[in-house]
Symmetry: C2
Subunit: 366 residues, 2 copies
């Protein structure tokens, strides 16, 4: 939800009829989650559609586990980030318990700082790996070495406020957030590419996230783009899109020493004139990946987010050249290439929406 | 439609409620397209759901333009092929007028041979290239050198029976036909790969064909799999999946002289023990393509059709090895690999369904 909307507009956006909206908003208003009010400028004549406005008293806590940073935020209905905590995370050897304990501490801190009378109505989390729908188990997070870790359950337990934590993959959530209020508004067939340290994707087909048979679709990071002399990937393969365009690849191509890492190191390479060849090489592989995705999905937009936002801003010429070379003209004629509008908040806002979604699915259960 | 079904089963399969089915079947029965009858073994007690049975008097004409063969068939509701015509087609220099004239002659021949009292209720066609939804224009058919050719309109004009021709891409139609009555029944997230001379794909996401922004999704044949020393592709690029796994690649890898072509030549290579290395090489590239698609789509099934049905039957070990190497375990755990059940009729049956779909969408307009 992007702010106050008329009942009629809400019905249209949710694809339901007006009597359903009437019942739903009455239920939400009864629970104190929204207020219904006359639109500004109403004269009293006729029957204006009531405006539905999120109540300011409710918020969600959103969490974001990226490869080298942990974040948490208090987010209001409609997406405003009201307060946040963030801290770097050591990349290696960080187990579930440590991550959960640190996030829970951030969450409690945010709750303590929330204004009196406001209520936490939901919990959502973004994770840099493959997440089982439903129970928030991380099935596979190669960047952190996680396999089948009960992340959602454990984080809910550690927070201990009686609410479950809805967990999603970071790029899936970024795609949904960009579609809801960022660079993808109105584009129902879109590809969002997210660079963290690895590379992930969130793909909307006809306005819905591509889940596949069991919810693990969109795994663009392990699409093989360089089968001949590819760089090793943490998944055990070589030449994956992530291995050729992620942070490690960029820093290695630019000849940076193995110890260097992180977004600042990436930005230093991207702005270093002597690293032009390295950036062009990364842009070439990124362009091949994007061309393949355009052929497969005939998208209306391709959005570059996270660290790939910075890469694309510099390597756009290489990406465009590869698309011209490898994407079928009919497939690419409607595809516009865009920078993420939500930038580094995309995944956190997606996690917040996930928290609100569990609430909105059953407003009176919370 | 796969044959007689109860109203209740029909309602469930079409995702509509029983009152909609009641109105729809009444309309179809009024137009003579279906008969409603009591199920076998009904005793008269209770209220059995009436069976809806396609009328035997209606058929569609289905057309199939493959790279080296033209086909047409008279097909009954529910998919039985009642009569067919087929002829080889010269690969080079065949223009729209020639193809349309030959198909129209086959169609008239089938109409002349139809039993008295039966009625042609729709026209559908499958084409080996990219087709604009709605008007049946071939936007891009590199194997035949077609760009923006008004195929559907011209075929309808040449047939001259007052019905439009609904046109679809061959692999899209094959995917839908396999899902409806072949190897993909019940699998709503599936990938169908079709080898003609080139390679095409039809991908279902949540039970619906992946159309993308303008209906040109699923263009798997031009996914780049070999960026380093790829074979030239008719699209102007090199190293596309089609260029590495299509008929030309297989025959060239096996050292066959340039003049050899066609399904018989392909089968000769596939059964020639001395061509094992060539088959393995093609299987390797096919496996890389399939691994990428599994990562992206988390499918329940991958179905090999057309010429790739024959290739996969022999090269399954290479495909399996590449999937094990390059597809993320979580993404591939539900993906079963299958041979097309409809074999060389998949595209023709898909075209027939398309013809019936235009009829069923507006039964009284025909």
């Amino acid at each position: 939800m992007a702010g106050p909307l008329s009942r009629a507009a809400l019905a249209e956006r949710m694809g339901v009829n007006r009597s359903t909206i009437l019942a739903l908003t009455a239920e939400l208003a009864g629970a104190g989650l929204v207020r219904e009010e006359l639109p500004a400028g109403t004269t009293g004549a006729g029957r204006p559609s009531l405006m539905v406005r999120p109540s300011p008293g409710f918020f969600v806590l959103a969490f974001d586990v990226a490869v080298d940073r942990l974040s948490a935020a208090r987010v209001g209905l409609g997406g405003p980030i009201l307060d946040r905590r963030s801290a770097p995370r050591s990349r290696a050897g960080v187990d579930l318990d440590t991550v959960v304990a640190r996030l829970a501490a951030m969450g409690r801190d945010l709750l303590d700082a929330a204004p009196p009378g406001t209520v936490c109505a939901g919990l959502g989390a973004s994770y840099c790996g493959m997440v089982r729908p439903g129970d928030g188990t991380v099935r596979y997070g190669p960047q952190m070495g996680w396999v089948d870790q009960a992340f959602g359950t454990e984080l809910a337990k550690a927070l201990g406020i009686g609410l479950p934590v809805a967990v999603g993959n970071e790029a899936h959530l970024g795609a949904l957030a960009e579609h809801e209020r960022g660079a993808g508004v109105g584009v129902d067939d879109l590809i969002y590419l997210h660079g963290d340290v690895g590379v992930g994707g969130g793909i909307l087909v006809g306005g819905k996230l591509l889940g596949g048979e069991s919810g693990y679709g969109c795994e663009v990071g392990h699409m093989l783009v360089n089968p001949v002399d590819g760089r090793p990937c943490l998944c055990g393969s070589r030449g994956c899109l992530e291995a050729e365009t992620g942070e490690y690849a960029l820093l290695a191509a630019a000849g940076r020493p193995p110890g260097e890492a992180g977004r600042d190191a990436v930005r230093a390479v991207l702005t270093d004139p002597s690293a032009g060849a390295a950036v062009a090489e990364i842009g070439d592989w990124l362009g091949i990946g994007v061309a393949n995705l355009i052929n497969l999905f005939n998208p209306g937009a391709v959005i570059f987010g996270g660290m790939l936002r910075d890469v694309y801003a510099v390597a756009a010429p290489q990406v465009a050249a590869r698309i011209a070379q490898h994407a079928v003209p009919v497939s690419r004629e409607r595809a516009s290439l865009r920078l993420s509008a939500l930038a580094d908040d995309a995944t956190l806002l997606g996690a917040a929406d996930l928290g609100f979604a569990t609430l909105l699915a059953d407003p009176l259960a919370a």
